[in-house]
Amino acid sequence: MSTMNLEPVPGRTDEMIVNMGPQHPATHGVLRVVLGLEGERITRAVPHIGYLHRNHEKIEEARTYPMVIPYTDRMDYVSGTQNELPFVLAIEDMLGVEVPDRARKIRTMFFELFRLASHLVWMGTAMLDLGAISPFLYTFWDREIILGIVEKTAGARMLPNYYTFGGVRRDVHPDFFKEVADLLDHLERRMVDYEHLVLESPVVHARTIGVGVLSKERAIARGVSGPVLRASGVAYDVRKAFPYDAYPDVEFEIPTSPDGDTYARFWVRFQEMYQSIRILRQLLELTPKTGPFKGKAPARIKPPAGERYRAVENSRGELGVFVISDGTDKPYRVKHRGAAFSNLQIIPDLFIGAKFSDAIAILSSLDPVFGEIDR
């Protein structure tokens, strides 16, 4: 079998087979898509992944439970602590550990902070893919502020290894609440500019409206989740469907759009950022300034034999983990359900028939992160 997995059709001379990636500025990492191009129109598309396969699942079988958490961090590396939560929740379920209320709220605050950070990275890179240079620099500047807040508390910028069984590793920095409040004020001002630059730009309209339409039925059947699913009109959000941590205590909406096109995916991510700001505002009020930040977890984590699937709604969709314990201090099997992994499967559905430039816009609206896809 050819390594391209896309053979030229004999006798067909109007189709050109183009290899896009793994080094391509618009693939958000190391995706490789082999495209059949007829002029600018895509006739065939075969995605290839695995260029960042880092044997997460095998190596996690050889690590003790607390040592697995930093590995989960490195999956969806744009959204930091969000990856730790499903694993932590699953083990807490198996151990029966109680998490203090304050710890739940702190976890949720970090969760939403990283959602904002991840969507900011998405916005910058998506606009870069569409050809605009400046929004990338603006969003990264805002992201730096979020990472600065995270770093003050957790000690690391991107991959903080902050959650632990029964709460969080250490108490928040004394400035934390004030800084988050300042950040939200700042972001609310900036979101106005971002709307002008992205959602209201006529060029963005021309490039995205009606491009890459994903129907509701197809989205569900393909197992797509997160903003991509909600942009197709399905109000499925793990935060509402299977609430975890402090989400039952806060009010927020699930933005959905019936259109299912690239612009709808852009729009849903924007609305999610507004919802994140809203959740964080409520949590600033609700979270006690002092109190316990960690419950009583056993010193040596040894869950009873059994299995547990837990999922959270991370920036890209349903991020799940399926843990099997055999009663020892190392997991028998850890299976990660990557949201971006599922979302990326729709590449052939959306690419075929689209223009090559559209394919770039569609890919940026799927927002893949390869740490999670290839694991």
Binding site: V30, R54, E144
Partner: protein, 184 residues
């Protein structure tokens, strides 16, 4: 890297001065290749954001390897990617340099023992500067870029080249621990 492709250090005064000038220009106009691999790629992008802004030092990304001078290996290189990475390195026009960013690119990082991970990108391409960290901060990458600049500008250092690796080097044939070859 010598003057116009030669690897010998010129002994002549005039040529030597020209050599200094050219290498000064090279050191002050290093264009990295847009090649993000993993977590470190986000920090690599953050090095060009307004907070750090490596463009102050005349560095900006080129997408095609032909026009790039520096390859920043930003992330874990696995055995599937290794061939492609080496190919990209071979496609870059001389003179070229490599920065190994982060623990994964240096020696495999937290994934070191894994079956699919190359334990150090210096098994595939010659590396000039290593940056520790998982992931390194943007400041660390900027420091590495400035170290590389100093290396190119320095009369002695620029002729001290890292170990050359043949282009047909097969990472699959590399024996692992105890000299055993893994089942692949």
């Amino acid at each position: 890297m010598g003057l116009l492709g030669s690897d010998e250090r010129p002994r002549d005064v005039i040529l030597g001065t020209l050599d200094d000038l050219i290498n000064m220009a090279r050191s002050r106009s290093m264009w990295p290749l847009t090649f993000g691999i993993a977590c470190c790629a986000i920090e690599m992008m953050a090095t060009w954001d307004p907070k750090i802004d490596a463009d102050r030092f005349g560095m900006f990304f080129r997408n095609t390897p032909r026009q790039a001078d520096v390859m920043i290996v930003s992330g874990t290189v696995n055995k599937k990617l290794a061939k492609r990475l080496r190919r990209l390195y071979d496609q870059m026009a001389e003179p070229k340099w490599v920065i190994s960013m982060g623990a994964c690119a240096n020696q495999g990082g937290p994934f070191r023992q894994g079956y699919s991970v190359v334990e150090g990108v210096d098994k595939i391409v010659p590396v000039d500067v290593y940056i520790p960290g998982c992931p390194p901060r943007p400041e660390a990458l900027l420091q590495a870029l400035l170290l590389l600049r100093d290396k190119i500008a320095d009369r002695e250092l620029r002729y001290k080249k890292p170990r050359e690796i043949p282009a047909d080097y097969e990472i699959m044939a590399e024996p692992g621990k105890d000299g055993r070859i893994p089942v692949l």
